[in-house]
Structures are given as C-alpha cells and as structure tokens.
Amino acid sequence: MVTVKFFAQVRELAGAEGVDAPLPHPATVGALREQLMSQSTSFEDALSGNVLMAHNQTLCNGDTEIAVGDEVAFFPPVTGG
C-alpha cells in the first residue's frame, strides 16, 4: 500500500485527511491520482484542477515513480507567510 495525504482545500473536498491506496499500474504518482479520482466523486473534485504533489515529502510530478510504503501528498498552491 501507499500512504496518501491530503491538505487544505484538497483535504476538505476529499472529506478525508488521507487514505491507504494499493500501488497503481504504472507505479507513478500520476497513475495514483487517476486511480483515486475514479474511486469517488469527492476524490475526483479534490484532485482535479491545480493540485500539487509530493513524494516522500518532496515536491514531484506525475511521472515520479512510487513503491509500496511510500508517502504521497496532494495539496493546493501554498499561501503561508
């Protein structure tokens, strides 16, 4: 399984702080995102649009490869400071 985390608007739209997901095929962050979006309409709402992705707490893109035990996060553009 892969540990998935949601933050801010993405978390609220998803209705969850995170979820454990099976490794997608191909094993990439982009495929994981597609897999989650097909899982429920709230996940689809949460993950469409301008969403950033992090792999093991480092910003990444859809092509990034993932493995069992990894942590993947989805969140909106940042607004701190």
């Binding site: 992090a54 707490q57 092509d63 909106p76 701190g80 400071g81």
Partner: protein, 162 residues
C-alpha cells in the same frame, strides 16, 4: 540556523537572543528581523482571524532547505525562521525571520529573499474567517509548481529522475 513550526506565540526578544548566540561570535554587525502579523481585513472587508494548516515533516524540511539556500546565496552568518500554525487572532504574530551578517545589505537581502520564497514555496495554507465562514486564501503565484520546485535545487531530486 533554526526553523520551527509551532502553535504558540513567540517572543521578539527570545528569538533575537537565539539568533545572536551564533551570530555574534561570527562577527555579525547587522541583524535584520521580519515579523508578519494577521491583518484585520482582506479585499472583501473585515476578517476575524485566520487558520493555518501545514504538512508536518515536509514543512519543517522546506524551511530548513530555505535557510540553507539563503546561507549559500547571501553572505550571512546566521538565520532563523519561526512559523505559527493553527487558529490565530487578528493582529497576532504569524511568522518571524531573522538574519545576521557582517554587512547590513546582505542581512536585508537575505531576509527579503527568505520571506519571498517562503510565501511561494513552503507548504502552509491559510484560511480567513469572516463571520462563521472560513475561506481558503487563493494563491498568488501563477505557476506554483515552478515556484516550489526552486526549493529542490540543492537537494538530491528523486522526483525529477523518475
């Protein structure tokens, strides 16, 4: 260097003193601090406080990377960042940045750089309360991925090798 994410308020004097512990023995002659406060209004009118969410682990790591970048780009001897999270009232302190250098220009530039980059690239999200409603603040950066990718330039970038 020190970077912390915390809910509790911070003391100007305590953070200044903490910065000086390493800065003074290294010949610092110039200390610059920046403090961000919760403003009591936005474009739509008055607000009643904000709420800040972060990504435990990644946020601290982004702040550490930001301090390393500032140190390699500017001639500073010490720097620190404190960012609060959770619910904060109007006028509360949100963020503190301190830089120390032998020369004032570098201390000013480094502090400006840290704040500019922090706002674009550290995983923290802000909600503003108006009445009983809290709205997420919209990001200003047009290409937020590009803004954040900057933070990775010093790191072993496993993502781009994929």
């Amino acid at each position: 260097m020190f970077a912390r994410v915390q809910h509790d308020d911070f003391s100007q004097q305590t953070l200044y003193d903490e910065l000086c512990v390493n800065a003074v023995p290294q010949g610092a002659g110039a200390i610059v601090t920046f403090t961000g406060l919760v403003r009591d209004f936005n474009a739509k009118g008055g607000i009643q406080g904000i709420e800040l969410e972060y990504y435990p682990g990644m946020t601290e790591s982004a702040l550490d990377t930001l301090l390393q970048q500032a140190t390699s780009r500017f001639d500073i001897v010490e720097a620190g960042i404190i960012h609060r999270v959770g619910k904060l009232a109007n006028h509360a302190q949100i963020v503190w940045v301190g830089t120390a250098s032998q020369h004032r220009e570098q201390a000013f530039l480094a502090a400006t750089f840290i704040m500019d980059t922090l706002k674009q690239s550290v995983p923290i999200w802000k909600k503003e309360w108006q009445g009983n409603q809290a709205s997420w603040v919209a990001a200003k950066a047009d290409d937020s991925t590009a803004a954040m990718r900057w933070l990775q330039s010093d790191k072993d970038n496993t993502c781009d090798n994929a």
